[in-house]
Symmetry: C2
Subunit: 631 residues, 2 copies
């Protein structure tokens, strides 16, 4: 963890500064010296070796011994008489001697004091003074009267790597049956795991897996009436068979589910569960804990609504109930229950409809014991609310990427996410689609659109996900005039036929995920820089490594219909390539190789073939003199 | 004072917010409602009618009555049955009735409650409910359980207008003699006042006017030895005749000085004094208060130094002396002394070499009693230190403008000053020269350079100043290799001959100051926007009025040698001019008029004639149909 701070004092005295840090819970601070960089900016670093919350603060002070010594040196260099100046340092040296360890130059100080006291010539003193007062010594034994303590204790949350680099693959386990017309099971899921892992995804995310309410169960296409064979929305949680800690019996049992977790793990994937803190009207809680809900004057339960919208199959918890403590405790227990079953990643449904303070409390409590847990906020809400949830502790968040299509929209949004202060606390997760959202861009009957949005999500952001089955099949039929799937899987069983999968999508998924895995530039989000290209349908950006010495250039044709071309700018200066030097642009996606030269180079992208280049810029092109037979 | 804040709650309840404000010293808060703007941003306003420090904070809450009423309206509009919903509001209405005044709809509420209780049809209730629960009522009697109080009390310092709009004219009164070879006096200054006022300056600034030290007095060109007739640097304050509260006898007496203050005032100007908190070695303080200074081991006093530089004619105060309280008190008394003599503007010499905490204490104390006092910080130091001094209370500050010459340098620096958070606390004052600084740009033997730098200072910044006599005479001879005046007025008497003044400069001063006075766009600094012109020697910027509906365009040729031309962009969209509409660009400086059309228009500037346009853009060009004889 690197900490920068402006540190300065009035006058020209020598300033020193320390960074104080500790893991939260520890009482003792550890200290490390800070270094001056430039323009009153200082930097310190402390190790954060494991996930958790760390605290840090600063202290700064004027060091009288180095101030005195630096002044003496300057005066001596310009030939001033420094006899009196040296004498005035005796008291400082004596004070220093009291601090210094016997083994550590204590003798040398005392000798020096004696020399000064007996009136040794300044020119003879400079050398022993220099030997004694080197930087190491001055840093180790500063002489300070007043320490200025930074008044705030700052906090940094350290997450595990998966929090910053993840690719989510969302499927409904009930639709995993290999056979037509049957309710899928966890056992069916088992057989899908190898092919999903093969495509390089590392999180397998399931919508809720709990018993589904029967009262007011929704039918196909969100109909308020349902037939006997309608499965209902998995987000209407709970029926007489159980609630948030139970498993929908048609999926299998807990042991089956744990088989899925295990097999996923064997294939390098983790299973993410949905946390939807709401109930169907027949959830056991409604009977057992009526005090956790809102009841209307007519004795009916208050279902979820956002007037004029109504969600009759769902009743919300009353988080402000007088009995909030038992409710909150129970919700915490739900999370702990699944953590103990092996789940460490949760996608949280609609967190913005629950109190901020509840999340702050819940996430802090959970992460204290399980700092490795990841919470993804499905907060499709107003920006300030989204950012607030991130500040309260959510690890990742859904974003507006879903609706950012043009170059202007994408660059402005990425600037907000990666260059404003938002980057300090908000980790975006880019989803081209979800079971709730089929965006207008994807609705056009145009297959390259799916490829383009996927490449954008997976290269702009280090965290991304797709709601896979309809994406892999280019399904684009929406409820007319809305951005919702027609015949949404939320309300009906699907039997996704393997033969309908477009192999081109799966190949693209696999290639892109492999590129992300192998190139660290794609494992961060804030390292992006947009670069000019004079064609608004082409997006050109570089992702840099931490040292800013290496970069991958991504050029994407945003137009799913036509071939677009333009001259893209390469960040030559940053990469240490001179404008007259030729270099290699190696296409990690399409496999081509281009020998380029100069800042601007030509690209042309046909969306019906491959809508993007992902170019590793290689500074050193092989030259004839590198071959053995050259000499 | 306008206050913006992000205010939001979880869920979709109706939020309300108040701005609380008071003048510092008052205990009671005043309250005013805030209005929702957009994207969770709210705005409130409170009046700041007089200079001083104001405090403000916020409170926000969910209002249950409006939440209930808005929900009912939405449900009713979409045809839902709202019988139960209306009944659930009885308790809210009853709670409201307790708060409401008899004269203020109390009866109406009680009637409404009675109607609901007796089971009136919802459709018959909507109308009386609407009449009762209008916005005014809901704002006046909110029903809130929990108020969220913003935890910080914020502060805004309100200064008088001169703090934000000033033009400083610096002269040494000792050089004001009309006769050759005589020490100038305050009486001599009196006769200069009308012509300075004529040029439109509104602050007349004098370097220190106190007795000048004799021990180690500097000679010409900062020589360490001086002749008997060398007057010494006015910043080496104090001799046996007096110190910071005395007047150098050759200038006159206190009554003469007050004549100057009075006459300046009659001509619309204020006199600014120099506050240089330092002494010559023969200042009475050294004798009377040796405890306020640093003494070396050899019994000599510690003079000012910044190794290897030495200032033998100046001894600094030891602000950290054990007797700091009496020292600080005395320094405060110096300021109060001059305030009582009629001085309300101080230029503070080298504030960065004194403790931050001293300035914070001094300025707060002074402004508590005299909020109209202006302190200009002569802080030519590192940026963070400059900004810190502004935060501590300085009203204005010198800047790096003096060294910003090219378009890139000027636009970057102005962006820092006017667009970053710096603009919230730092008021820049632009000086092309000072007695300490003759910049390289002005050293070139080129008269347009002086015109260009003056126009830049006075149009980029609403606060600016010049060290006038050498500027008016295009004096450009420096100490070789340095940015200091050769034969600096700091160390010798000058007899500035009136016939050496270049009338062109004084005409320019008068014209520019008149333009600044008449056009409010020049009376602010942060209203600047740079606009494109594809010639790096041309600087093109607009200064907008507060409503952003009117603007003045300034185009300056930064090249003092050659005529430069280019196509300047006009902010047509902001000014409400369509690209096909012709408009008038009226040159307030040169007097020309241009009929232009479209975003980009041609300018050509010959620096030897006039290096700038100051264009008032007039939207409405006269047309034939506006004349009487048209019909």
């Amino acid at each position: 963890m690197r900490v920068n701070a402006d540190i300065f004092a009035d006058g020209h005295d020598q300033v020193m500064a320390n960074l104080l840090f500790r893991k939260r819970g520890n009482k003792e601070w550890q200290k490390t010296g800070m270094k001056f960089l430039v323009n009153d900016l200082w930097q310190g670093e402390f190790p954060v070796n494991e996930p958790g919350i760390y605290e840090y603060t600063l202290e700064a002070m004027v060091d009288h011994l180095s101030t005195w010594w630096k002044d003496i040196q300057k005066k001596a260099e310009s030939g001033n008489d420094i006899t009196v100046d040296i004498k005035s340092g005796i008291s400082l040296l004596a004070e220093s001697a009291l601090k210094v360890k016997e083994t550590d130059k204590k003798g040398a100080i005392q000798q020096l004091i004696a020399l000064i006291q007996k009136g040794e010539q300044p020119e003879r003193l400079i050398k022993p003074m220099g030997e004694l007062l080197d930087n190491e010594f001055l840093q180790k034994y500063p002489l300070q009267n007043h320490i200025t303590q930074y008044p705030n204790i700052l906090r940094v949350t350290v997450d595990r790597e998966r929090a910053g680099f993840s690719s989510w693959y969302e499927i409904f386990p009930r639709s995993c049956s290999a056979e037509q017309c049957c309710h899928g099971t966890f056992r069916d899921c088992l057989s899908k795991i190898p092919e999903i892992a093969q495509m390089g995804f590392n999180i397998l995310y399931f919508p809720p897996i709990h018993p589904i309410g029967e009262i007011h169960r929704k039918g196909k296409n969100n109909s308020v009436t349902s037939n006997a064979d309608d499965p209902g929305s998995p987000w209407a949680i709970g029926n007489q068979k159980g609630g948030h800690m139970s498993i929908h019996s048609q999926l299998g049992n807990l042991s089956d589910f744990q088989q899925v977790i295990k097999k996923a793990k064997e294939h390098g994937m983790e299973v993410a569960l949905d946390l939807a803190f709401q109930c169907s009207p027949d959830h056991p809680y409604v009977r057992e804990h009526p005090e956790w809900f809102r009841w209307r004057l007519d004795g009916t339960i208050q279902y979820a609504e956002n007037p004029p919208k109504k969600y009759e199959d769902i009743v919300p918890f009353n988080f402000e109930t007088e009995h909030w403590q038992s409710l909150w405790e129970e919700l915490k227990n739900i999370v702990l229950f699944w953590i103990k079953k092996g789940i460490k990643i949760f996608r949280v449904d609609n967190p913005h409809t629950k109190p901020f303070i509840f999340w702050e409390w819940l996430i802090a409590l959970i992460k204290e014991e399980y700092p490795e847990v990841i919470f993804l906020a499905e907060a499709f809400t107003r920006p300030k609310v989204m950012y607030r949830l991130a500040k309260l502790g959510f690890t990742q968040s859904y974003t507006y990427f879903t609706w950012r299509n043009t170059k202007q929209e994408l660059t402005e949004y990425l600037a907000e996410l990666t260059q404003s202060k938002v980057k300090e606390y908000f980790r975006p997760n880019f989803w081209p689609n979800t079971p709730d959202i089929l965006s207008e861009y994807l609705q056009a009957d145009n297959q390259p659109a799916f490829m383009i949005r996927f490449i954008l999500a997976a290269t702009l952001s280090s965290n991304y996900g797709i709601y896979a089955p309809p994406y892999e099949r280019f399904i684009n039929q929406s409820v007319p005039g809305k951005e919702e799937y027609h015949n949404s899987e939320k309300y009906e069983l699907k039997n996704w036929l393997p033969e309908e999968v477009k192999e081109s999508t799966r190949e693209l998924f696999a290639t892109i995920n492999r590129i992300r895995e192998k190139n660290i530039e794609f494992q961060k989000t804030n390292n992006i820089r947009f670069l000019p290209v004079e064609n608004n349908q082409l997006l050109n950006f570089a992702k840099f490594n931490e040292e800013q010495t290496d970069a991958i250039l991504v050029v994407i044709n945003l137009d799913p219909h036509y071939t677009q071309s333009g001259w893209v700018k390469i960040p030559l200066y940053e990469l240490g390539i001179s404008p007259d030097q030729s270099f290699l642009a190696q296409d990690l996606l399409g496999g081509g190789q281009y020998i380029w030269q100069g800042e601007f180079n030509y690209v042309e992208l046909n969306p019906h073939i491959l809508p993007a280049h992902i170019l590793r810029i290689r500074k050193h092109l092989k030259k004839e003199n590198q071959f053995d037979y050259f000499s």
